[in-house]
């Protein structure tokens, strides 16, 4: 019985206060998330200072709930893990200080975890990893391609040079007067519209695995402005569909190329944007055709990254 390893994970890098207890790296005992979406909605995006304030208010409550739900005793918990970064600095500090205080009070080892590792490892609850493995992490905070040769080894081979994909979604959504968070709204509208506008695809240099979404974002903004000036009305559904088509094509193409060039055995898509239906569908089609196993977390696992 006591060969089980139970880890308590804390994550506060963005707008969710999350605590999870995990057994042997594969079994989730509890996963409590206090989301701040309702609060940040007013501002059309995450406000760092406000995120930090909410974390302080929520932290001990989330901890308590997670422990109660997991039905474990402190003596059974082997270590405290916490996201060290990257993320919002002030928000991260709340999680880190909580973890340090807990480790001290309960005399447990403390493990700092990279935020990206948290995203990737959340998928391990679905299926055991096979290496080499390629992970695409897309959310409001990042757009990254990470190559893993073994457990704990993360090599960043591509990243966004400007906005994260999720950020571009939020900004375009704001232009279209859609509520925050913009991702799910655009995804929903895109399914109803048609790709009538040919927005740019940022491929960057031919062999680059990096991303860029600021050009696309500006193109969308310009299109909407110009149409307004000419008194034309563009269908929101079509803008959403056209914008989303550009994002998805770039993400899918680059991930597929990297997967082939690096000869990986598995591809993982993680982060909040992994919930995007359009992206999921296109990824599934492309990777099935290429016969590379693809792992996209079930929708509920997309945001809780305390599951380290």
């Amino acid at each position: 019985m006591k060969n089980d390893k139970i880890i308590l994970g804390i994550e506060t890098s963005c707008d969710e206060t999350a605590v999870a207890l995990v057994k042997n790296g594969t079994e989730i005992l509890s996963d409590v998330v206090a989301s701040q979406i309702e609060s940040h909605k007013r501002f059309g995006g995450v406000v760092p200072e406000i995120a930090s304030r909410h974390h302080v208010e929520q932290m001990t409550m989330v901890l308590e709930e997670a422990i109660e739900e997991a039905k474990v005793e402190w003596e059974d918990i082997d270590a405290i893990a916490v996201t060290e970064g990257p993320g919002l600095v002030g928000a991260l500090l709340v999680g880190v200080n909580t973890a340090k205080a807990l480790a001290f009070a309960k005399q447990k080892p403390l493990v700092g975890v990279q935020h990206i590792a948290g995203h990737i490892y959340a998928n391990r609850f679905e299926r055991e990893f096979e290496f080499p493995l390629l992970a695409l992490i897309v959310s409001g905070g990042h757009t990254e391609l990470v190559l893993m040769k073994e457990h704990g080894d993360f090599k960043l081979i591509g990243e966004t040079l400007d906005d994260a994909a999720g950020e571009a979604y939020d900004k375009v959504a704001r232009m279209l007067d859609l509520p925050y968070p913009g991702g799910p709204e655009i995804d929903r509208l895109a399914a109803l519209g048609e790709e009538t506008i040919d927005f740019p695809r940022a491929w960057l240099s031919e062999d680059s695995y990096d991303f860029s979404f600021s050009g696309l974002k500006s193109a969308v903004i310009n299109k909407i402005h110009n149409a307004k000036q000419r008194g034309e009305t563009l269908k929101k559904e079509d803008i959403a569909a056209s914008f989303q088509a550009s994002v998805i094509e770039v993400l899918t193409t680059k991930t597929l190329r990297a997967a082939k060039e690096k000869n990986v055995k598995q591809v993982i898509v993680a982060g909040g944007v992994a919930a995007n239906r359009g992206l999921r569908a296109e990824m599934q089609t492309q990777f099935e055709r290429a016969e590379i196993p693809l792992l996209i977390p079930p929708l509920s696992l997309c945001s809780g990254t305390a599951l380290i």
């Binding site: 007013r42 501002f43 406000v47 200072e49 406000i50 930090s52 304030r53 974390h55 302080v56 208010e57 932290m59 001990t60 409550m61 901890l63 308590e64 002030g90 500090l93 709340v94 880190v96 200080n97 909580t98 340090k100 205080a101 807990l102 001290f104 009070a105 309960k106």
Partner: protein, 235 residues
């Protein structure tokens, strides 16, 4: 009663361990250095030094602001988590009240304050009567000129206490003249044991409910409220 005191609300990082009203040990630095990195090791070191185990703590006192937003959060997060994990009561104390303990024997008003930028200060007015402290003007975020005018009207001598006092010295003397008392450097810095002393007469807070006292809305929130008001008046 074994008390652990934590203050990271401003530049000072202060940790004290007290047995009733006696200080057993304390660590205090007045540096612009990372509180987040240094707080836990300081607590750890001090507990080891005085030979106290965490289970022996009966209470935790913490500075709940005003001060640096991040600093206040570091102290409060640590104190709340320790209190929750150990099942120990926790008490949040005003950072201004703790500082005003430096004026324990001053016959007059005590005005502790922290620079809140753009001419504003976090301040309150405190007064020592016998062994008791009163707070005739509650902690607030206000233009420094306003508090000076108020104090001048009261016509009493005022002890000014602030780690940021040098930037305001001229203005104080200009307005208050002879009524102003500005002591030497060490008096402008919160002693963690004073915070502990202040906490002793207070009822414990609810651990989950204890929140920072920023005295100011986040900028985005203030702007948003302003917009809401404008919208209302346009309707």
């Amino acid at each position: 009663m074994n008390l652990l005191v934590i203050d990271t609300s401003n530049h000072v990082l202060g940790v004290a361990i007290m047995k009733n009203d006696q200080v057993i040990g304390q660590i205090m630095t007045n540096l612009t250095k990372n509180h987040s990195v240094r707080l836990m090791p300081a607590i750890d070191k001090l507990m080891a030094e005085v030979g106290m185990r965490v289970e022996e703590l009966d209470r935790i006192a913490v500075a709940k602001g005003p001060g640096s937003y991040t600093g206040v959060r570091i102290g409060l997060t640590t104190a709340k988590t320790l209190a929750w994990a150990l099942g120990t009561p926790v008490v949040g104390v005003s950072s201004l009240e703790a500082l005003s303990y430096q004026g324990r024997f001053f016959d007059g008003l005590v005005c502790p304050f922290f620079d809140a930028r753009r001419g504003l200060v976090y301040t309150g007015i405190y007064e020592w009567e016998g062994g008791n402290i009163t707070n005739p003007v509650p902690d607030q975020n206000t233009p420094f000129v306003n508090i000076l005018e108020d104090l001048k009207e009261k016509g009493k001598s005022v002890l000014f206490l602030s780690p940021d006092v040098s930037a305001f010295k001229e203005q104080i003397i200009e307005t208050m003249g002879e009524l102003a008392v500005i002591p030497e450097g060490p008096y402008h810095i919160t002693n963690p044991a004073h915070l502990g002393l202040a906490s002793m007469t207070m009822e414990p807070d609810n651990i989950h409910g204890l929140a920072p006292n920023y005295l100011r809305l986040a900028e985005a929130e203030a702007n948003w409220l302003k917009q809401q008001k404008e919208k209302e008046s346009n309707d």
